[in-house]
Symmetry: C2
Subunit: 98 residues, 2 copies
């Protein structure tokens, strides 16, 4: 029997808010693009209704790789990786200097 219940965003937010670095970044008006990216990735996955493991499978990487990308402390993003994710889920990656 397949479980499709996921943690809600609210739960996730609550959990992440216990992380001092995450809180700090959220408080900054010009918020950090790395944390912002982690959020975007999580939101994408949630929209798809997938667990990290399922999401990871579509990208042919293990779950741990997705956990790392969604971590608020991760700063190692490459456009290659983000583009690969975007196209796997029929999205377009947009990059801007605003």
């Amino acid at each position: 029997m397949k479980k499709i219940k996921l943690q809600s965003f609210e739960e996730w937010e609550k959990k992440k808010l216990k992380d001092p670095e995450f809180v700090k970044a959220c408080e900054e008006p010009d918020d950090d693009p790395f944390i912002e990216t982690a959020w975007q990735l999580l939101k994408l996955r949630e929209k798809m209704g997938l667990t990290q493991k399922e999401f990871a499978k579509k990208l042919h990487v293990p779950q741990e790789a997705i956990a790392r990308l969604e971590s608020p402390r991760y700063r190692g993003y490459s456009l290659q990786t983000l583009h690969k994710i975007a196209s796997t889920f029929d999205k377009k990656l947009q990059i801007r200097f605003i």
Copy 2:
């Protein structure tokens, strides 16, 4: 005597359009985020009215590093690099999946 004359966008576009890969990417409706990033970087530099060398100096890297980032064939972007550029020029890097 200091020259501040730069190639215009039109000139640049004309030049790049001779590049088959560039043309191909531009023709695709869901245009490539790598080429798009190269454009964004060039536009940012143009707005600042800087040569590659001057732009590079503010980032503490040689001109060649900027030429590479502005090349339509470059696919090695990291958010670290893009963020460094954004903040050096008081911009915010925006990343989205659309």
